[in-house]
């Protein structure tokens, strides 16, 4: 019924067309509310790419999205749709906070390792119960992970309000982490540093009270490089290890996997633990690298954006990386929109939803459209 598309078209064109469709519909929405799509795009580009400050934020967001995107992808390769990255990332934040607050760290690099362990453990733990229920009792993982997102939010509110909030503080947040756990941000990294110098109107470098140069502070931090490593790691794991082989085989055909002696329970558990750990690791970026304390709703929806990122990136680490950058742009650009124009920041939620819709649910439609185009070209 449907013409088969060439592989390159399936990998490149389908997500691209989906993205264009999402952009088109968003533009229509903007027109409908009397805003100019072109102006919106200009503001977004200026706010998110043009200045080092802008892309400092874009990459910060992208870092989070890479982790959650990988989390969703890894599970997806095993045929599991993990909607719980949000909750797992929040729990990961808890792990980071506990590691940073209650253990003495002499240096950030050690703290980073410790916090990573905490983040991964807590994220994985939060994925473990839905995984176990899926593996052993056949409870649909989509529903259980949704439920666990809500439960995670409740757990965090309780802990932040009743346990972690320092005496005398009014907002529900943990104490600040000690300075020794502070991760280098881009403006602290030699080599990148000079990009972020602050200039006065006359073009001279601005100095602080002690006469040292002032830098623009961006939240992008060393976690970005960890995210790249995670991409490579996931790629190696999926396509160059036995585990990855078994995950993919299980994801393609559960029955055949059983024939090959691949245990459904083991793979489901392992893959969800990895997925949860990846989602949890996101917290290194936002909790340790940025806010340096645990806030309520720290993941800010990045877990859900992971779904869009994974779909858009075709569940391949390279694709996830690119899609995460795209969504980082969308997020930072959206923030610029909120500041500079009358367009509500929620526009980015709409775009995000549309991208998921076109890449994940209407992909057949996109393929059919492309199929027609290919046939038309052949007959011409």
């Amino acid at each position: 019924m449907m013409d088969k598309l060439p592989k390159w078209a399936d990998i490149l064109l389908v997500p691209l067309i989906s993205l264009l469709l999402a952009a088109l519909v968003s533009a229509l929405v903007l027109l409908a509310i009397g805003q100019s799509p072109m102006q919106a795009l200009t503001v977004m580009v200026n706010g998110a790419i043009v200045s080092p400050y802008g892309w400092g934020y874009t990459l910060y967001y992208a870092t989070s999205f890479i982790f959650t995107g990988l989390a969703v992808s890894v599970a997806y390769h095993a045929g599991l749709f993990n909607i719980g990255a949000e909750g797992q990332a929040q729990l990961g934040g808890l792990g980071v906070a506990l590691a940073c607050l209650f253990l003495p760290w002499p240096h950030w690099s050690l703290a980073l390792v410790g916090a990573m362990v905490g983040a991964a453990l807590f994220g994985a733990a939060w994925a473990a119960i839905p995984a176990w229920l899926q593996a052993k009792r056949g409870s649909h993982i989509v529903i259980t992970t949704i439920m666990f997102n809500y439960i995670a939010a409740a757990v965090l509110i309780y802990l932040l309000v009743e346990v972690l909030r320092p005496a005398g503080q009014m907002d529900p947040a943990s104490a600040r982490f000690p300075a020794t756990t502070s991760l280098p941000q881009f403006q602290d990294i030699p080599g990148l540093q000079s990009l972020f110098l602050r200039y006065a109107a006359d073009g001279t470098v601005r100095l602080n009270a002690e006469g040292l140069p002032l830098y623009q502070k961006v939240p992008a931090n060393v976690t970005f490089f960890l995210a790249i490593l995670a991409c490579v790691g996931v790629w190696v794991m999926l396509w160059h290890t036995r585990l990855g082989y078994m995950i993919r085989a299980f994801g393609k055909s559960e029955k055949a996997a059983r024939y090959a002696g691949i245990s459904a329970v083991k793979i489901t558990m392992t893959v969800m633990l990895i997925s949860g750990a990846l989602a949890g690791l996101m917290a290194i970026n936002n909790v340790m690298g940025q806010s340096e304390r645990l806030l309520q709703n720290s993941a800010e929806g990045a877990g859900f954006i992971g779904i869009a990122v994974a779909l858009m990136g075709r569940n391949h680490p390279v694709g996830v990386f690119l899609a995460a950058i795209l969504f980082g742009f969308l997020y930072q650009g959206g923030a610029a929109l909120g500041l500079e124009t009358a367009i509500p920041i929620e526009l980015r939620t709409v775009v995000q939803g549309l991208v998921i819709l076109f890449t994940g649910a209407l992909d057949q439609m996109v393929r059919m459209m492309l199929g027609w185009a290919f046939r038309a070209r052949r007959t011409v």
């Binding site: 019924m1 190696v236 160059h240 393609k252 024939y259």
Partner: protein, 522 residues
């Protein structure tokens, strides 16, 4: 011999109940039906035979409006009729019993029967009427089923009756049955045939698809033969014989004969004692199987599909759990615990060519090379650096295997789904046989495989035997069993009915055993 040559004479008499002209249908690249024409006389039983994938089910589904033909014409009782959907087919008086039943499992029989044929928007009226009609039909055709039973609680034979009743309830004049006996016990099959004769006597027209020549000879009036999407012939049953039909089916003189030396059995490789398997529904599928296979021999297991052969393969292959004792090379295998899985079986020297290659044996979306590692992904020669899989090594190995087994096209990076069925089967057989296992479990090795490939695969199996390995062969094709096996065991209803020497037994004797007639009675 083609049915079309005497249309003129017949048309002047009663019109045909069904006449198809030039029907074609393609699924993507697969041409399932090619320019098919066929005529079925009113009040007759018309058989259709053909190998797997010949296009029989597709043709009937088109007639029933389930698929839409790409080209062609349908005439019902002489009138050109378009059948865009099943509704139209039902209106034209056609009923169909599908190979895979289309019943709602958690509905009652009655609900299943009225579904889509209700009288008015309220259920109560429909149910009341259906209950009466059903009672009448049951009496008339020996089609008793409890109208209030849940379908999921019924045996397969009874579910089939529900399907027939569904068609009759819709006052079908033409009834199509797609491989109705594949899932039936011989007694149930006999009962079915009685029903069909009864229907024929009432003037109904019946199309019967089957693989079994015996059934064709027994019950049909005319028979059409299909091969690779085409109709090769239509003949009067009375004027033909099984040999001729078989030849028409596969396109050349058959009785496959495999060149092989007499067996030279050595030590016992596999010993099975009192093996039992209970399925998820709690039905006992294997009721205490005992057998043994020695090195250098092929034990063939014959039987009607659904008598426990699949379960036997699966429990030996580690896919399902069972109780009893299984010894492999003297080592007792784990049938229930952690080591009752495919990996452990492979480690114990058992290779397994599963019955259904597309569902079990291959990952259709994986490339050929990935499939060659399937099940053997732990093999040391496929690893490197202790941690990683050596994809390069697997690809090289795949190229070698593809050359030996003449897999076409010999491209390791092609996805399994893009190979033809026969070549898919060759990949699986290559993977398993090349492991040089002590015991090869092999189910339906040549299902849907073309003649050339059949011979090749048979030779490989025999070669493995000659290399001193044990083979357990399961096949629904008696010919295959007869020509490959060194010993034949017959399974019926989860038990082994008896063992025969292929040199001294014959199809009749095996057939009786397969039908559950035990030795004493025979």
């Amino acid at each position: 011999m083609m049915g079309a040559h005497d249309t003129g004479r017949q048309a002047s008499a009663a019109p045909f109940a069904i006449e198809l002209k030039g029907i074609s249908k393609a699924f993507g690249p697969v041409q399932a039906n090619k320019d098919i024409s066929i005529q079925v006389a009113k009040g007759s039983i018309h058989g259709i035979i053909g190998e797997n994938g010949a296009g029989k089910s597709t043709l009937m589904s088109i007639l029933y409006g389930f698929y839409k033909a790409d080209a062609g014409e349908i005439l019902i009782n002489g009138r050109p009729t378009t059948i865009p959907d099943s509704q139209s087919a039902i209106r034209a008086g056609i009923g169909m019993v599908f190979q895979h039943f289309k019943l709602v499992q958690n509905f009652t029989v009655l609900e299943n029967i009225i579904l889509g044929a209700e009288d008015g928007p309220m259920l109560a009226t429909s149910l009341g009427k259906a209950r009466k009609v059903l009672a009448d039909l049951a009496r008339e055709y020996e089609l008793d089923v409890d109208p209030d039973a849940l379908v999921e609680d019924l045996s397969v034979g009874h579910q089939q009756r529900v399907e027939i009743l569904k068609a009759l309830y819709r006052q079908a004049e033409i009834l199509i049955l797609d491989e109705p006996t594949g899932v039936l016990t011989p007694a149930e099959a006999d009962h079915l045939f009685r029903i069909l004769r009864g229907l024929k006597d009432q003037g109904k027209t019946i199309i019967l698809i089957t693989h079994k020549l015996r059934e064709i000879m027994e019950i049909t009036d005319t028979v059409s033969v299909m091969r690779r999407g085409q109709m090769t012939a239509t003949v009067k049953t009375a004027e033909t014989n099984p040999e001729q039909l078989a030849e028409l089916m596969v396109g050349r003189k058959v009785l496959l004969h495999v060149e092989k030396q007499p067996a030279n059995p050595g030590r016992t490789v596999l010993e099975v004692e009192n093996l039992r398997v209970v399925d998820e529904q709690g039905v006992e599928r294997l009721k205490g199987i005992s057998l043994s296979i020695r090195a250098g021999e092929i034990l063939g297991i014959a039987g009607v599909a659904g008598n426990g052969q699949s379960e036997l393969l699966e429990v030996l292959g580690g896919l399902t759990r069972g109780t009893g004792v299984v010894r492999m090379n003297g080592k007792t295998l784990d049938l229930t615990g952690r080591h009752s899985d495919g990996q452990s079986r492979r480690a114990d020297g058992i290779a397994h060519v599963p019955e259904d290659r597309q569902v079990l044996g291959l990952i259709m979306d994986f490339t050929a090379w990935e499939n060659v590692a399937f099940g053997y992904h732990h093999a040391p020669e496929y690893q490197k650096n202790g941690l990683l899989m050596d994809n390069e090594a697997i690809r090289r190995d795949t190229e070698a295997k593809m050359a030996t087994f003449d897999v076409r096209p010999p491209i390791p990076t092609l996805a399994a789904k893009n190979f033809s069925g026969g070549n898919q089967q060759k990949i699986v057989v290559a993977r398993e046989i090349e492991r040089n296992p002590d015991l090869l479990l092999v189910g339906q090795p040549t299902r849907g495989v073309d003649i050339g490939a059949i011979e090749f695969i048979h030779k490989q199996i025999v070669a493995l035997r000659d290399a001193g390995k044990a083979v357990l062969l399961i096949s629904v094709e008696l010919d295959e069993i007869m020509s490959l096996s060194d010993r034949i065991a017959v399974m019926f209803d989860g038990r082994i009915m008896g063992e025969r020497d292929p040199a001294t037994t014959n199809e009749r004797e095996l057939g009786l055993l397969m039908a559950g007639v035990s030795e004493g009675a025979a």
